[in-house]
Symmetry: C2
Subunit: 192 residues, 2 copies
Amino acid sequence: MEKTFSLSLENKIRSIAAISQESLSMLVQEIQLMHISKNEMLLTEGQFCKHVYFVEKGGIRTFMHNNDMKEINVNFTFDNSFTTELKSLRTSTPSAFFMQALEDTTVWLFEKDVLLALYAQSHEISNFGRSLLEQLLMEQEEHANMFKLQTPAERYQYLYDHQPAMLQRISLTHLASYLGISRETLSRIRRH
Amino acid sequence: MEKTFSLSLENKIRSIAAISQESLSMLVQEIQLMHISKNEMLLTEGQFCKHVYFVEKGGIRTFMHNNDMKEINVNFTFDNSFTTELKSLRTSTPSAFFMQALEDTTVWLFEKDVLLALYAQSHEISNFGRSLLEQLLMEQEEHANMFKLQTPAERYQYLYDHQPAMLQRISLTHLASYLGISRETLSRIRRH
DNA sequence: TCACACCTGTGTCAAAAGTCACAAAATTAG
DNA sequence: CTAATTTTGTGACTTTTGACACAGGTGTGA
């Protein structure tokens, strides 16, 4: 662990909510920088998630096991994005999910208890927390609607159009379960 | 429109976040009560959503049209629950969704601009806003995971086990698109 | 209470996706 | 650089789901 100025993090925070230099300093004062290597776990099933994560560079997949013990990916987080396991974080229960680095990854850790204290001290930080949640919820709703409105081929096309960079960094195997289809079907969709 | 004391609303707010009597009063001071009859629209596609809704009694479905202009239900909200169209509310864009009463329904309206002002005045109200979002996000994540982890029959069984009251109030036709399957398939699943 | 609209169940068939098996290609580790 | 491992592509077959058609049931409003 170390700590260094991060312009990309500062820009990201400012893009989510207007914030003064003072509040920004408070927010990033106690965060920790962490490097994790490809395939290492950021969070394991059963652990308590105590942080909000900001992926500065690299990629994280969030997955769980289904009834057949197959891995099902539920989220991918790449450069300059926030993520967490909200249910575990919020309710202080063991995580049902794993979080694993897809590449060598640099992550800033925002500790839950520190954040809660900061919310009480600064309206700006409180607004930032709420805006971040709003953004995550809108993304999640959009993703959920993909499953109801579109066929598997359309879901793939949607990512192809809206998140082309993601497709370069996620293996077909991992992408398939994220789209709710089998590896073979995705391979055949991609062929055209 | 009228205004009346609502114990169920007060209890709901307190269950989401600890709040003093003073902050609670501020929060409910300007909200409006609205009755809408079965099949009436609470929000129409293209309108700007300007409120967070609390359904005191009754039921609301949120739906949109797919490519074939078929109605796809994306959410149901019944007694004692909050809902809104977050994307429209948050980004001040026209709603992509319709919201319609499934039954004669009583709704409290929380105006967006009033809420934003209150967030700046009271840490407790600000915390309530964040907690409500956290809760909505956890529900949404759980719902999205249903589609990746479970078969249509398992998804129906899940609702049967976790939200039995909902199944009594939603028509099979509406439920089918919510579960991402055809009306006929749901009918056959339900037969056993 | 009667007519009409809407909702639900079901049979038949077609289309889509899953499963299994295995080969080819790509990536990784030593 | 090479062997081992992992990932991807594909064929054959099975299972699941969707689409269409239509009958029977339910509810609603005039």
